[in-house]
Every structure is written in structure tokens, then in C-alpha cells.
């Protein structure tokens, strides 16, 4: 059974997209993952389809997909850029996306083409407002 909005973990140190990815600036690169809301809605993740290292995508372009028992769901780039690292651990332990979505469950690391694109994403409060609108 899915979480109430008040039960969701929405940290302050990441930015949010309307497709339910988060992005966190770490040095010059961005770590990207799935929000607590998205992992909760999808249910138990059983497979993560990753992009190749060195692939480049535009903002909002699909970079991979997640498979849960219920469905397959695409993941979209929060900003345009190049894939510099992927979370290799997820191939053996996709459940990390459910268990620790903002930590060990991170998905890709991106070198942004235009770091200013990050400012266009939502902060916690704006994302929370959006989620309330979805109810």
C-alpha cells in the first residue's frame, strides 16, 4: 500500500523534476536518482536499465528504464549532459532504489552541458505542491 504524502522522504539538498527524478550537485557533476514518491508508486524494483558511459542526452530525454513487478517506467534526464558514471551495484541489487533512493540507490552521474539548467528544477516545496495536485 502506498505512502501518504506526509510520510514521504523529500530531502532539501536535491532538486526535483516533474517526472519524479532528483538531482544533487556533487562537485561539478550531478547525481541523479528516483524520488521516494516514484519508488513507492512503482513498488518493488526488479531491474534497472542503464545508459552507456559516455552517452549524451538532452534535458527530458529518456536515459533508461525501471522495471517493477507491476510495470516498466522510463527515466528522463533532469538536465542535458553526458553520463560519466552509473551505479553498477543496481544490477545485482535493484532493491537499493526502494531502500535508499537518495543514497545507495542513486542511478547515474551526469556531467551537465549547461549547469544553469539545474536552477530550472523544483525545490522540495514546489515538488510537494505538485504531488498534492496529483492526489
Amino acid at each position: 500500500m502506498s505512502k501518504e504524502i506526509s510520510e514521504l522522504n523529500l530531502p532539501d539538498d536535491v532538486k526535483y523534476t516533474d517526472d519524479h527524478e532528483w538531482a544533487r550537485l556533487e562537485g561539478e557533476n550531478l547525481k541523479v536518482g528516483l524520488t521516494d514518491y516514484a519508488q513507492d508508486q512503482l513498488g518493488e524494483i526488479v531491474f534497472v536499465e542503464m545508459p552507456e558511459l559516455g552517452d549524451t542526452f538532452e534535458k527530458k530525454e529518456e536515459f533508461g528504464s525501471l522495471e517493477s513487478v507491476k510495470a516498466v517506467s522510463e527515466m528522463y534526464m533532469p538536465v542535458g549532459g553526458e553520463i560519466v558514471s552509473i551505479n553498477e551495484e543496481l544490477s545485482d541489487a535493484p532493491e537499493l532504489v526502494n531502500e535508499d533512493p537518495y543514497g545507495k540507490g542513486w542511478i547515474i552521474e551526469v556531467k551537465p552541458g549547461d549547469p544553469a539548467e539545474l536552477d530550472l528544477l523544483m525545490n522540495k516545496d514546489a515538488y510537494l505542491e505538485m504531488l498534492k495536485g496529483l492526489e
Binding site: 526488479v46 522495471e67 510495470a71
Partner: protein, 484 residues
């Protein structure tokens, strides 16, 4: 409410055959040897295969018990949305088992296979008549195989014009296999969102359709069970940019004999004989997914094709622009035979099939509306889609409703699909369920909604009386054991 269909009784456990029997036990006796023993070449010697030693009775009980664990459309209502689990009339099986058909060999020459070839030829004509699309191949072995064949034809069409197009439009209410079929032909799928009415808007198509787009794949009625009312306009837009329209005919059961698919603007359509035309399915087949195309695309159809010459039938390979062969011999002939039997036995009543299928779905929709949340409150086609929204307050989800339904003796509907509806319950009763059975299903769904309020544990712990309870789907997906 009537007595429950789902009830408890003796369910037999049954081990693997290798765990049964005893050394030396056999189920038959060989006749006495009447020739002299002859030594075998060394290279032919070795240990025999590891077969269990069993009597005939061991084997019969084994498979009888396994069959009792099954639930099929012969056991009860199977309202699995998008799958058209209609009853499979037994006359189809009878015709398919006639020795002249069952014993036919695909390598026999045409002059010894006239009856078989005539049936294939006639079936193509019937499917052309039913869809309005004049040229047909019966080769594809499944709906998804038909999709692939259709997309290969669309690809061949653009190639013949000297064009390379890289994209295909796919609505969010299309069948799940559509993007895969497009991808196998090297196309990139572009997701098109349906509007707030659950159907495609011509404006949305105008925005994304361009001259690098090979066409659109439309499932009509779509997976929300809604008729794409703008299909003609959508097709006109796609055609105006040089694209083609692929129609996924998996939901043909809603419009058979009512809609002329060609007039809707569809260029290629696949049919699922194992859905609309009552041949058995589930458990992986065999299926049959013929495709029907316009005159313009006929030259690309797979070879061989059945042709008629001076009253004789033969297989012809003489189609230089054909995409080639897509199945060994000519597809799953036994399945086609059953569909042929169905079409002939129904005759003019084929139209009534669709009318009753749509009536049954709307009857369920109207009867359960309010009890279960109905996201698109408008007339539906052959299936209706509810959600678990009304049950959320009791912490009961679609999965729990589906599991509880099993205890009442019904196969659950399709759940969590289409993806555009959160917590979807997609119900397709088909025309073959009687009013009493549909009423019983409706009463059961109401009783479950009531239980969700008063005693949600009943749902959360279901199923309790089935052979197995909830399986660990997560472990099966994450750590699959594929070695037996």
C-alpha cells in the same frame, strides 16, 4: 448472494514425475523379440535418457492432478482485459481434428493439399471482408508477430520510395508490445499522450507528426476500452506527411462487422485469431496473428502466398518486393482452421458478437460505477477500466481485490494496465458470458468492495483457499532460478 463458486475441496499435491514410480515399473509391454540380437556400434552405445519408471496409472494421475490446478475459460469466467478470453467452441476442435487436416503434411505437393489450401485462401478472403482491407497473410504466429510483420511492411514501403524514416508514434493507450515491434524494425518510438477523454487528439498528432516519422501504431478501441473517435482525422494527418497507419486489432472483438477498418484510414492491421476468433490461448500459444493490408501494400506481404489459378490452389513465391518468409511453412495451420470453423458457424452473427461484447462491458461498467472508481465515465467498448481509489482509505489495493476475487471462483481481471490509469482494474467479460454469470460477477465485486470497508483483512490475506497463496513475485524477478 448465490452459493460461492470458489470453495474448498481436496486439492492433490503432486511431485515431479522423477520423484514418483519405482525402478523397473513400466506402463506397457513390448512384444516378444522375433529376430536375432544384433550388436550395436560402439558409437551408438551409452547411457539412456533419465526417464522415470512409471505405470500408466502413475502418469494419468500425474497429469490429471496438474490439470486440476489450472483455471481456464472452461472452468469459469476469465475477464482478463485486453485478452478477450472468450469461450472456445468445441466444434472448432472437432473440425481441426478431422484426420484429413490433422494428418496433412506441409511438404505434400499442392495437388495433394487442395482442401487445406482452399481453406487458407477462403480464410484470407473472410478476414479481408471483415476488416475491409483486401490483402491478407496468415503467416504470423501471434499478435506481436503480426505487429512485427506489419512494421516490416511499413519499413519496406518507405524504402521502396527511397525514403528513410526513423520514428514511429505510439499513444500511451496502445498495446505494450507496439514499441518493441517498432524497435525491432529500427524505429524509435515517440510516446503520444492521450487527452483527458482518454483518446487521441488530432492536435497532438499534428504537433509530432513529421516527414521523419514512418507512421503511427494505434490500438482501436484503445486499452482504456474507448473508441478512438478521431481516428480518421489522425490518419489523415499521418498520411499527409507521407506516413502510414498501423492498426493493432487486438481489440477487434468490439467492432467486428461494425467498423470498416480501411475506411478509418488504417493501412495495416493485425488480428488475433486466438482472441476475436475464439481459438484457444494462454499458456504461450500457439496463436495466430494474420495481417490485413491495403492494395498499395499487398506487394510487400510475406511469401509464399496462396493463389488460385483455373480453379486450383497453389503456393506462389513470385513476389519480388515481398519482405520474405516470416514463419516456417505457412504459420500455425490448426489455429487458422479453428478460426475458419468459427467464422462459418457464426455467419451473420459475427456482428452480434461485438454488439454483445460491448453490451456486457457497459453493463458491468454501469453496475459497478460508484462502487469502484471509474476514471473515464463514458460509454466503453468491449472492456471497462476501474481503479482502487475508493478503497484506498481502507489501505486495500487493486492487487488485494484481484486476489480476493480468486476465492470467489473468478479469474482476476487485468491489473495495473493500462499504465495511464493508477491502480487499474481492466475488465473484459466478452460476449460468451451469460447474464446470470455477469450478474454473479457484479454481485461478487460489490461484496468485495463491502468487505474492503468492513473487514479489509479478508482481502489483504487472500487467497487462503487456493492451491498456493501469494507467490513471491519479487524474488522470482530479482533472483530467477532458470535451471529447473
Amino acid at each position: 448472494m448465490k452459493e460461492l463458486v470458489g470453495t474448498t475441496g481436496l486439492i492433490f499435491n503432486e511431485p515431479l514425475l522423477w520423484e514418483k514410480g519405482a525402478k523397473g515399473r513400466i506402463g506397457f509391454s513390448l512384444p516378444r523379440r522375433d529376430v536375432d540380437p544384433c550388436p550395436l556400434d560402439d558409437e551408438l552405445k551409452g547411457d539412456g535418457p533419465d526417464f522415470p519408471d512409471l505405470s500408466e496409472q502413475d502418469v494419468v494421475r500425474h497429469f490429471t492432478r496438474l490439470s486440476q490446478w489450472n483455471f481456464g475459460v472452461d472452468s469459469g469466467m476469465y475477464p482478463l482485459g485486453s485478452c478477450t478470453m472468450k469461450y472456445n467452441p468445441k466444434t472448432n476442435e472437432r473440425q481441426a481434428s478431422l484426420p484429413g487436416f490433422a494428418g496433412a503434411h506441409p511438404l505434400l505437393p499442392a495437388e495433394l493439399s487442395q482442401g487445406v489450401l482452399k481453406i487458407m485462401f477462403d480464410l484470407e478472403q473472410y478476414l479481408a471482408e471483415i476488416t475491409g482491407l483486401p490483402a491478407v497473410t496468415l503467416q504470423p504466429a501471434a499478435g506481436s508477430h503480426g505487429e512485427l510483420t506489419g512494421m516490416m511492411i511499413i519499413n519496406a514501403y518507405h524504402k521502396a520510395k527511397g525514403e528513410t524514416r526513423s520514428k514511429v508514434l505510439i499513444p500511451d493507450t496502445a498495446h505494450g508490445t507496439n514499441p518493441a515491434s517498432a524497435a525491432l524494425c529500427g524505429f524509435k518510438s515517440i510516446l503520444v499522450k492521450s487527452n483527458d477523454q482518454g483518446i487521441l487528439s488530432p492536435e497532438t498528432i499534428s504537433e509530432v507528426m513529421d516527414e521523419d516519422t514512418a507512421g503511427i501504431m494505434v490500438t482501436n478501441p484503445n486499452t482504456l476500452g474507448l473508441f478512438e473517435e478521431n481516428i480518421k482525422k489522425v490518419a489523415d494527418i499521418v498520411h499527409s506527411k507521407g506516413g502510414l497507419v498501423y492498426g493493432d486489432g487486438a481489440n477487434m472483438n468490439a467492432v467486428m462487422g461494425i467498423v470498416n477498418v480501411k475506411k478509418l484510414g488504417v493501412d495495416v492491421l493485425h488480428l488475433n485469431l486466438h482472441k476475436t476468433f475464439s481459438t484457444p490461448h494462454g499458456g504461450g500459444g500457439p496463436g495466430s496473428g494474420p495481417i490485413c493490408v491495403t492494395e498499395e501494400l499487398e506487394r510487400f506481404l510475406p511469401v509464399p502466398r496462396v493463389i488460385e489459378k483455373d480453379g486450383k490452389y497453389e503456393l506462389s513465391e513470385d513476389y519480388p518486393e515481398s519482405i520474405g518468409k516470416i514463419h516456417a511453412f505457412y504459420g500455425n495451420f490448426g489455429v487458422k482452421l479453428k478460426a475458419y470453423s468459427y467464422i462459418l458457424s457464426m455467419g451473420a452473427n459475427l456482428k452480434k458478437v461485438s454488439q454483445l461484447a460491448v453490451l456486457s462491458a457497459n453493463y458491468i461498467k454501469e453496475s459497478l460505477k460508484g462502487v469502484f472508481h471509474l476514471p473515464y465515465d463514458k460509454p466503453c467498448m468491449h472492456e471497462c477500466v476501474f481503479t482502487d481509489k475508493n478503497q484506498e482509505a481502507n489501505k486495500v489495493s487493486t492487487l488485494d481485490i484481484a486476489k480476493r476475487l480468486m476465492e470467489y471462483g473468478f479469474h482476476p481481471p487485468t491489473i495495473y494496465f493500462p499504465l495511464v490509469v493508477h491502480g487499474a482494474l481492466m475488465i473484459e467479460p466478452t460476449e460468451t458470458e451469460s447474464k446470470e454469470d455477469i450478474d454473479h460477477f457484479i454481485e461478487t465485486m460489490k461484496a468485495i468492495a463491502d468487505e474492503a470497508k468492513k473487514n479489509p483483512e479478508l482481502l489483504l490475506e487472500a487467497p487462503k483457499i487456493s492451491k498456493v497463496r501469494r507467490l513471491d513475485e519479487i524474488a522470482a524477478a530479482r533472483k530467477p532460478c532458470l535451471c529447473g
